[in-house]
């Protein structure tokens, strides 16, 4: 451990002439033990099918021009497959860099700012808990859509008195969806291809009094386009609006976020409209973190997710879809967790979830019929970063 730490300290940054560079990385292994339902693998028997790792390098050619790249792997039961991927590869050109105003442009495969945690959602050291709240759909399907994508990004920040206002706007180019993700997004008996069309993403944030208060609004607008060989095509529009608020005190951090997800799904067969479905899902949580000292912290969270905000109990859905349980339409998750950071490199997490409803489960991991509405889950994780 000490050797690794020493190596990390030596190689993680430096400067060669005018060029500064940094190399950082992270790795974490999780364990999930659940009752009744499976989450991130065969977790009713205990699952280690949950890990994440990445390594990145950044080079600053001159103060206003830098390049950065990160390769990452993540495995999470059926919802992620552990394959190596290019997480980001970005050129950053700083146009304006003064004490109270900064602005710049980024190009390449960039991260989308959405809520407080989306950009670094796979690095446990940046999360408040092992599992992110359902606002971030950690076990769902939209991470492909919103996490990271090729595009152009403009950013800026300005200081006005106690307020630091920042802005990030991203235009994402059309891109393909990996086969492994396609099967999670669309259930269809014929072969199909799924692409994410042009999309855009925006975040504005007000950070007050050195970050004591933080408020953010984030928007994502995009669409999936599906094509098949049998003249059936689909277009699924997704709009996300995320409202975020956080209070940072010396020992306590209070966080609340709410997301409203509008889905507009259209299927066309032989060129004629075949199906039109509009659904608004929503999710929100209230979370408290308490730091016991510089190394220990505890957290607790109330988290709810509804597939249809106009049918929160799921009764209307069940009536319209015989054979499907209404309890697949919502999840309420009460979480308590503890977190130990013995030094700047290592971290250990443990948390327990008490869950009512099964909306956060993956259907492919939990084939119908529904097993249990009320279930619980113990999660453990150990991580290293440098």
């Amino acid at each position: 451990m000490r050797l690794a730490a020493a190596l990390a300290a030596i190689c993680c940054s430096g400067s060669a002439g005018a060029v500064d560079y940094q190399i950082h990385g992270y790795a974490a292994q999780g364990f999930v033990l659940s009752s009744h339902n499976d989450f991130f693998g065969d977790s009713t028997d205990g699952s280690f099918d949950y890990y994440e790792a990445g390594i990145n390098a950044a080079v600053r050619i001159q103060p206003n021009l830098s390049f950065a790249i990160q390769a990452a792997v993540r495995d999470a039961g059926i919802s992620d497959d552990g394959s190596v991927r290019l997480d980001y590869a970005v050129a950053d050109y700083r146009v304006l860099s003064e004490t109270n105003v900064q602005a710049g442009l980024r190009f390449g495969k960039v991260k989308n700012a959405l809520g407080f945690y989306n950009e670094t959602r796979d690095v446990v050291f940046t999360r408040p808990s092992i599992l992110l709240p359902s606002v971030y759909s950690d076990n769902q399907n939209q991470r492909t859509l919103i996490f990271t994508s090729p595009g152009a990004q403009a950013y800026g920040a300005t200081v006005l008195g106690q307020h630091e206002l920042s802005f990030t706007g991203t235009f994402n180019a059309e891109r393909d969806v990996r086969k492994n993700d396609e099967r999670l997004l669309v259930e269809l008996t014929v072969p199909f291809d799924l692409r994410v069309g042009d999309s855009w993403n925006l975040q504005v944030m007000d950070s007050i009094d050195g970050g004591r208060w933080q408020f953010a609004y984030s928007h994502f607008g995009g669409q999936f386009r599906m094509s098949t060989e049998i003249d059936l095509s689909g277009r699924f529009d997704v709009d996300l609006n995320v409202f975020s608020a956080r209070f940072n005190a010396e020992r306590v951090t209070l966080t609340a976020e709410y997301v409203l997800i509008d889905n507009d799904n259209r299927l066309t067969y032989l060129g004629a409209p075949f199906l039109r479905q509009r659904v608004a899902a929503d999710s929100g949580y209230l979370q408290v973190e308490y730091r016991l000292g510089s190394n220990w912290a505890v957290m607790s969270r109330l988290d709810s997710f509804y597939r249809d905000r106009h049918d929160r109990s799921g009764h209307a859905f069940a009536a319209a879809n015989p054979g499907i349980d209404r309890r697949t339409q919502f999840s309420h998750d009460f979480t308590v967790g503890i977190h130990w950071r013995p030094d700047q490199h290592w971290g250990f997490w443990a948390e327990h979830h008490w869950i009512n409803g099964t909306a956060i489960l993956q259907a492919l991991e939990n084939p119908p019929p529904l097993r249990h509405q009320r279930w619980s889950m113990l999660m453990l994780m150990a991580g290293y970063k440098f």
């Binding site: 990145n56 206003n64 980001y88 900064q102 991260k111 940046t126 951090t253």
Partner: protein, 165 residues
Amino acid sequence: MNFSVHTPMLQRLRCLLAALLLTLAPGAVPQNSDLEVEVIVSPSLAEVTLDRSLLRAVFTMRVREWPDGTPIRVFVLPDDNPLSDQFYREQLGMYSYVLRRAWDRMVFTGTGFAPTVVRSEAEMIERVRSTPGAIGFVRKRAASSQNRPAPPRWKIVTITADGHG
């Protein structure tokens, strides 16, 4: 923000070394001011004056170059060092975990550099002395606090030991 550079490099370096030798001399460190912190900068930036908003912009890594165009290189002590906490709280008006969160976000999104973490104050002084554009912080020492300007609301910073300060 005020900024001026008008001393020849060699002379400034000598000033810095003299100041360092003074501060490192036995008996020069008062035992009762353990957690008074001061900012130190690279000798090439001897005349820089830092106010709170510039310091915040520097330590949150929002600005990347000094007004003369030199790249800013930030050095910090480990997060759990009491001196770090003291410095962030008193001089930046921020908590260390809020800063760490901002640095981690930059590092793992490719949008910025994190400060370089050094293991001790001795290493901090050495790295700041030898790195152009460097800035860091150390425990306040009596010898280096002489002959310094006293800007409003803000105890500075500069490692100049003679009449240029």
